[in-house]
């Protein structure tokens, strides 16, 4: 692992990964004393790559994602986003999309998307333009005035994605964003996410329970163990892009899915 101090300003900087996690451990205080939650996590995500983290329930994958977002602090170890440590939320570097559409029910879809910009007092004109662009990007033209309760689950998650992207952060972290959706909507949303990703060239880390979703979306799948969470397998998904629904029926897809399943099953 390269240390910041070693980088000389004279030479052009080599392209560094968008996300670098090294020697990360997390211990929390449970009822019966200290509980190790994450153990020696190391991972890198290259610029523009789509990485999916899977693992059994309670393995700490969401915690890990929250740490990458600067929303939670690890006990030890480093997390660098865009070559700088992250110790608090930084919407310039990281956008976050949560599991349940955490939209503000008192704001319209467009106002929800503008929210991060409003926090920084961006000019109204600029906010509107930018938010409308994002609304179009996620395929919700004409729905800007709707309130969250007037939108379906899938539409709400589209708004959440638009909100995560509105400040144009290079990294997008997604915590089981489609977990609450029905199967068909989920498939469509996965496909839509890949389209948005290819149009915006973001670095994405995506946490999910669904193995099919993992293989379908990822460049690389990281498999985590049961608590304490460790990374027990890294699987490169070499399926060509753009991905299509037909690929799910292929033998390669099945083999990859099976390999992940075997790993997770062992962890039970």
């Amino acid at each position: 692992m390269q240390h910041l101090a070693n980088v000389t300003q004279l030479r052009p900087e080599p392209a560094r990964p968008a996300i670098e996690v090294a020697a990360l451990n997390h211990i929390y205080d449970g009822r019966d004393g200290q509980v190790p939650a994450l153990e020696n996590i190391a991972l890198t995500v290259g610029v523009g790559k789509f990485t999916v983290i899977v693992g059994p329930s309670g393995c700490g994958k969401t915690s890990l994602l929250m740490m990458m977002a600067g929303l939670r602090h690890q006990t030890s170890g480093t997390i660098n986003i865009q070559s700088r440590p992250i110790d608090r939320p930084d919407p310039d570097r990281v956008g976050v999309v949560f599991q349940e559409a955490s939209l503000f029910p008192w704001l319209s879809a467009l106002d929800n998307i503008e929210f991060p910009m409003a926090l920084r007092n961006a000019p109204r004109e600029e906010r509107r333009t930018r938010a409308t662009d994002m609304l179009n990007l996620v395929g919700l033209q004409g729905f800007g005035a709707r309130y969250p309760h007037e939108l379906s689950g899938g539409m709400k998650q589209r708004v959440s994605i638009a909100r995560g992207l509105v400040q144009d952060p290079p990294v997008l972290l997604m915590d089981e964003p489609f977990a609450a959706l029905d199967e068909q909507t989920r498939m469509t949303m996965g496909h839509e996410l890949l389209r948005i990703w290819s149009q915006t060239a973001k670095t994405v880390v995506f946490v999910t329970h669904s193995l099919t979703e993992a293989v379908y979306l990822a460049d690389e799948v990281l498999v985590m163990s049961a608590r304490p969470g460790r990374i027990i397998d890294r699987i490169t998904i070499s399926l060509p892009r753009p991905r299509s629904y037909e690929m799910m029926g292929t033998e390669v897809f099945g083999r990859l899915r099976e390999r992940i399943w075997q790993q997770i099953r062992k962890e039970g």
């Binding site: 949560f98 349940e100 929210f115 926090l119 395929g139 969250p148 007037e150 379906s152 539409m155």
Partner: protein, 270 residues
């Protein structure tokens, strides 16, 4: 045959009650001392409107000041108790138990301390209306979806921004419900205390005319109080309705409850 609309039925019931009110004493089924006819009551109201208006203005003044105390104090205390864990653990059980006490037992003490003028009514009614406002404000703040705060933080919201842009708007519906309940109790408090010990106000009129067995004047005052309460409730509901759009949505609820607008399929968006 088509079923009549519920609102039509409601108005019909009201009209029937008014006719009933007029006919029962007139036919002698109920003595006029217990229930004067509607026409007589209205005639008294028209004849002595000056007296009713001046007493009503006293009551209105007391209600207004008491509501300020109940709502202002209730929101402030509720925000502190709902927002600060230490205060909540210390005070919420105490206040919840106090709420169950019939506070009217304190009224004689208030008259001893503040006299029989408006002050004792204002303070009594203010305390009376304070509890529902405080308790629902505390509940509104406590039940905010944590996920919303987490999302705001992920977007870089500072603590003051979290308060003004998330906590306050998210708790408005619950607070408004508390204000409606508290406001209604404030009116009750003022009228009751006027009836117990006082020299002015619409509640005082009820007591005074009752002691001289002047039923039409008693019922005239009762009509005034009814109108006052109905007007307040209509006003409070109108404000609540403006926020009702997201009232339910502000709390956690299950995914996949489609709003009726979505019933129309949307091609581009799932």
């Amino acid at each position: 045959m088509r079923r009549p609309a519920p609102s039509t039925v409601r108005w019909l019931i009201l009209a029937a009650l008014l006719v009933f009110w007029e006919l029962m004493p007139r036919t002698g089924i109920i003595p006029e001392l217990f229930l004067p006819t509607l026409s007589k009551t209205l005639a008294v109201l028209v004849k002595d409107w000056r007296e009713y208006a001046s007493e009503l203005s006293v009551t209105l003044y007391e209600v207004a000041v008491a509501m300020l105390i109940a709502c202002g104090g209730g929101i402030l205390a509720g925000a502190l108790i709902g927002g600060v864990t230490l205060l909540r653990n210390l005070l919420l059980p105490v206040f919840s138990s106090l709420y169950a006490i019939p506070i009217v037992i304190l009224y004689p003490i208030f008259t001893a301390w503040f006299g029989i003028g408006s002050e004792s009514k204002i303070i009594f009614a203010g305390v009376y209306g304070f509890f529902p406002v405080m308790l629902s404000t505390a509940a509104g703040i406590r039940t905010i979806d944590e996920q919303l705060l987490l999302a705001a933080r992920s977007m870089g919201a500072t603590v003051p921004q979290q308060i003004t842009r998330v906590i306050i708007p998210a708790s408005i519906p619950t607070v408004l419900t508390g204000l409606r309940l508290g406001g209604a109790l404030t009116i009750v408090g003022v009228v009751v205390s006027e009836m117990l010990t006082s020299a002015a106000g619409i509640g005082y009129l009820v007591t005074r005319y009752r002691t001289i067995l002047d039923s039409p004047h008693v019922f005239g005052a009762i009509i005034m109080i009814l109108l006052l309460s109905i007007a307040f409730d209509a006003f409070a509901r109108a404000i609540e309705r403006r926020t009702a759009v997201w009232q339910v949505a502000g709390r956690r609820r299950k995914e996949g409850e489609p709003a009726d607008i979505i019933a129309r399929p949307v091609q581009a968006a799932v």
